[in-house]
């Protein structure tokens, strides 16, 4: 294992609930790892353990080879953590707050001002630098918190749902920012928003009910579900005859009737692994003189993968 973050057998039990059940994973140098799961899956608990806020019931975390429990201070020096519910001191002004945080994170006095302006610029909060944090909109506050994460130039970023509460434009900006940081920084990012993972992450860990379901790249995940081709066919003809004929085609694994509209019937045809059945379906329709209105391959989205994995594969 050469991961920057190595978690092994993390278990967190509360009196009655087991929030995490022996999860292990690693995040490699310079990688953006997505931590994906429905609400209550244990994402935040895991991240809190990584930052040393919570102690695991069992298991251990090593960051840069150091144990979180024994080297907490050194590790906190290297981590920028964005908590789930961003909260900042409302009575401070943005620039004042960031200067204070820079001081706490050990930024040298001579560099502090420059660094504060640099992160305000990167996180697009320069225009509100003199405003009280308590008066800022949620999106701004989120970005001030992100600026705080970056101010100590951490080598690791742990971001708990970084785009919650932002508008679409800001979401895109934040994702761009995260992506641009990804070259130099190791990032662990939790989210329940799938596009985020698709757009920014190199690898995804899917977690559900306190256990890891799978770890893979977004592309591979999509391929796993699209390994079998699914085609939607809409044509005119006697439904049961059509269904029978489709089933007889070479390479077809499964056919199901989906619905009927103005005399056309829609079928969902699933091909066997590695087979493209679209051509055969077209030839069939021509030879039987059935009017074909639609022949479409269904693209499985990560969303499907996610739903599939978190509902079926677990059992």
């Amino acid at each position: 294992m050469n991961g920057v973050i190595e978690a092994s057998n993390l278990t967190k039990r509360y009196e009655t609930v087991t929030a995490l059940d022996r999860i292990s994973f690693e995040v490699r140098q310079g990688e953006i790892m997505g931590f994906l799961g429905p609400n209550g899956a244990g994402k935040t608990t895991t991240l809190r353990i990584l930052t040393g806020l919570l102690a695991p019931t069992e298991g251990s975390v090593r960051i840069d080879g150091l144990d979180v429990e024994t080297h907490s201070l050194e590790i906190r020096q290297r981590i920028g953590y964005l908590p789930e519910n961003v909260s900042l001191y409302p009575e401070l002004r943005v620039q004042e707050y960031l200067a204070y945080r820079a001081k706490l994170k050990g930024v040298a006095r001579s560099k502090r001002r420059e660094r504060v302006f640099e992160v305000m610029d990167r996180c697009a909060v320069s225009d509100v630098r003199r405003q009280l944090i308590g008066r800022l909109s949620r999106g701004y506050r989120q970005r001030v918190a992100l600026a705080d994460c970056l101010i100590g130039r951490p080598s690791i970023l742990i971001l708990d749902e970084p785009t919650v509460g932002l508008d679409p434009h800001q979401i895109r900006q934040t994702r761009e920012l995260i992506k641009s940081l990804g070259h130099t920084t190791t990032i662990l990012l939790s989210t329940h928003v799938l596009p985020e993972v698709e757009m920014a992450c190199h690898r995804v860990t899917i977690i559900n009910k306190g256990a890891i379901v799978t770890v893979d790249s977004p592309d591979n995940l999509r391929r796993r579900l699209t390994g079998r081709q699914v085609v939607h066919v809409e044509l005119q003809g006697d439904p049961s005859a059509v269904e029978e004929a489709l089933k007889q085609l070479a390479g077809v694994a499964r056919v199901s009737r989906k619905g009927e509209l103005d005399g056309f019937t829609t079928f969902e045809v699933e091909g066997q692994a590695g087979c493209d059945v679209r051509e055969a379906i077209f030839q069939l329709a021509v030879s039987r003189r059935w009017t074909l209105r639609q022949l479409a391959q269904v693209q499985a989205s990560l969303e499907d993968v996610f739903i599939h994995l978190t509902t079926h594969e677990k059992e």
């Binding site: 930052t51 906190r76 953590y81 908590p83 519910n85 001191y89 706490l104």
Partner: protein, 248 residues
């Protein structure tokens, strides 16, 4: 050390930014103003030849003195950790590269300095008296020292209470109760007949240690006593902060 200074100055500022500071300040000045008025009235009355020193009257001689000392500490410290826990800023604070000791000491010093600042305003009373009449400043200074040290103990207790809950009101009530308990240890003396145990009870009494200060006697024993109680209580606060049960 740099962290401690940064954190303490943040605590100090946060206190003066909050409206609580001005409510507490007004309450405090009202109490002390009244005590001063009483003092001047007594000193002006030719029929009274007080057997006590002026400093004994001002520092601990009245009900209002004790009321302000005992009430102020919970009010000054109730927001320390509770507020940060309630809003969630504690998470940001504790993931910064600072130790628990630094955090606890900063909360403590911030409140202790604010307490000192409140008392410092009463110096104006003695300034006025000194302008009108010669004054022995020694006992007054030792009275201030005693008040500040006693306040330190009570503030440490308040910080401890605040670290246990996310609700400021509960924190204030809890620290007030703890302070009263700590304070009344000395009163147990009434029930103790064994002279050895009586000595122990007296030693543990916050009140008895204070008496010397108001007479103008600065002894190292009460200073050591107060400082060790503060250290013990702050140690408990650090433990509380570190224990997962009370976290987040």
């Amino acid at each position: 050390m740099r962290n401690l200074i940064a954190l303490t100055s943040r605590e100090w500022k946060a206190f003066w930014y909050s409206p609580v500071a001005y409510g507490v300040g007004a309450f405090f000045l009202l109490m002390q103003g009244w005590v001063f008025w009483l003092l001047v009235a007594v000193l002006n009355d030719p029929r009274v030849d007080p057997p006590w020193r002026m400093s004994q009257f001002f520092f601990g001689g009245t009900f209002f003195y004790w009321l302000s000392v005992l009430m102020i500490a919970p009010l000054l410290t109730m927001r320390c950790f509770s507020e940060e826990k309630r809003t969630g800023t504690i998470e940001v604070l504790l993931t910064a590269p600072v130790t628990n000791w630094q955090v606890v000491l900063a909360k403590f010093f911030g409140a202790w300095l604010s307490y000192g600042a409140l008392w410092a305003t009463t110096a104006i009373f003695f300034g006025m008296l000194r302008w009108l009449t010669p004054l022995d400043l020694g006992p007054i200074l030792s009275g201030y020292l005693g008040t500040w040290l006693l306040g330190g103990v009570l503030i440490a207790v308040g910080v401890l209470a605040s670290s246990m809950t996310r609700n400021q009101v509960i924190a204030a009530v809890m620290s007030f109760v703890l302070i009263l308990l700590l304070f009344s240890i000395g009163f147990l003396d009434v029930f103790v007949t064994d002279p050895e145990s009586s000595k122990i009870v007296q030693y543990l009494s916050l009140l008895d240690h204070f008496r010397d200060f108001s007479k103008g006697i600065v002894d190292s024993r009460p200073i050591v006593f107060y400082c060790s109680v503060m250290a013990i209580v702050l140690f408990l606060t650090v433990r509380t902060l570190a224990s997962p049960r009370w976290r987040a």
